[in-house]
Symmetry: C2
Subunit: 232 residues, 2 copies
């Protein structure tokens, strides 16, 4: 239905090399953990290519902020600092607020129907207490909304940001917080209402409030994860 969009979403002239996508997915989904060494030679053997394309992909990932290349030492999976996470949630709020406003301006488009359907399915997920399905639907809701803004540059920046946040991992943790499920669904409904009434300002405002609320939960979850790793 909806493209994954965290891992792959650009519709550019040059389709992304499979290598880059696979490496990025490994990082974003947590197959490799922050601090892990991504050695070019080892990866080259794993993927059965030479170091050259591996190297290009790693350099690209460095620019995306997912890894850190230390000259003549190694390439390591990067972990955003608390400050960076906070900064990125500010950006997320701005991006999605902009998207909501643009979408409201566009009026009735297919994406709006997709959002309505999403909320309907979310309602069922909430009733069944299916947190995992709901988490997936949340991701779909937000990416559909941004896609509906019909602004490719926005999408590019947004995808970049979401990859850095390793968003879906944080979201699934966030939603385990008690009561957050029902709140989140209601907020989604309010967003759709504002968009449907073609009020860009209201749409942006509601959207930003929603992102701010979930950001707070997410930041909390991220901080909690931090504590669990280093209990001392």
């Amino acid at each position: 239905m909806q493209e994954s969009s965290i891992v792959e979403s650009k519709a550019r002239s040059n389709p992304e090399t499979p290598l880059l996508g696979r490496l990025r997915q490994m990082i974003v989904t947590g197959v490799v953990q922050p601090g892990d060494l991504l050695a070019e030679t080892a990866l080259a053997q794993d993927f059965e290519v030479s170091r050259t394309p591996i190297r290009e992909a790693l350099k690209q990932l460095e620019r995306e902020g997912l890894v850190e290349v230390r000259a003549r030492v190694g390439t390591f999976v990067r972990k955003p600092t608390q400050r960076e996470i906070h900064e990125m949630f500010s950006l997320k709020e701005a991006f999605e607020g902009l998207a909501a406003g643009l979408l409201a301006r566009r009026g009735a488009v297919p994406e709006l129907d997709q959002l309505k359907e999403n909320v309907a399915r979310s309602q069922q997920a909430v009733e069944r207490g299916d947190a995992e399905l709901y988490s997936q639907l949340v991701h779909e809701f937000h990416s559909t909304l941004v896609a509906g803004a019909d602004n490719r540059k926005l999408s590019e920046h947004y995808d970049l940001l979401m990859n850095q946040l390793a968003y879906h991992r944080i979201v699934s943790q966030t939603l385990s917080l008690p009561g957050r499920l029902q709140n989140s669904k209601d907020e989604h409904q309010a967003i759709i209402d504002a968009i449907s009434s073609k009020d860009p300002l209201a749409a942006e405002l509601v959207m930003r409030r929603h992102v701010a609320a979930s950001s707070q939960s997410a930041a909390l979850a991220a901080m909690k994860e931090e504590d669990e790793e280093q209990p001392g």
Copy 2:
């Protein structure tokens, strides 16, 4: 005083390779024109290195949207489409609006004083009718404001955007439009007032209105340039 910031501004662990910066500057400042071929071999000879580092830099520039690499054909300086320019100005509005809000929240910081001084100098430039100096001060105003938001992720995204817009070229064209100089300066003053009164919402609103206004002028100038190139 203020770092150029269009060409170089990141304070990352890995300092940017000189090659990348030089190539980027060549594109942003118009030394090489859209459509021009950037052949790896030729550049390697010019810069007296092998193709490998050149290649890395070009790949990076591709990700930044400044060049287009067509496999086995060539790497070409890219020209944003009218649609992309429009999209990017939407993003610019969101970024600078966010920055103004964040800066207002921070209160009295050195950057605020820099902004005040900037407006004072701009006043002089307007009185003297020095459009070039004013153009430079405009650039400085906006980059100081974003820097003042104290959000590195925002700065990264903003720099990326500005490079794609080859912003200063467009600005200098824009400001030649009659009456725009005085208007622009007054708007800058209004932005500072809003920030000084520590009203994030007002600051964001005024900022966004300002960006929207200058965007309209800039888009017009870009369109005009387009027409001049292809008169038929």
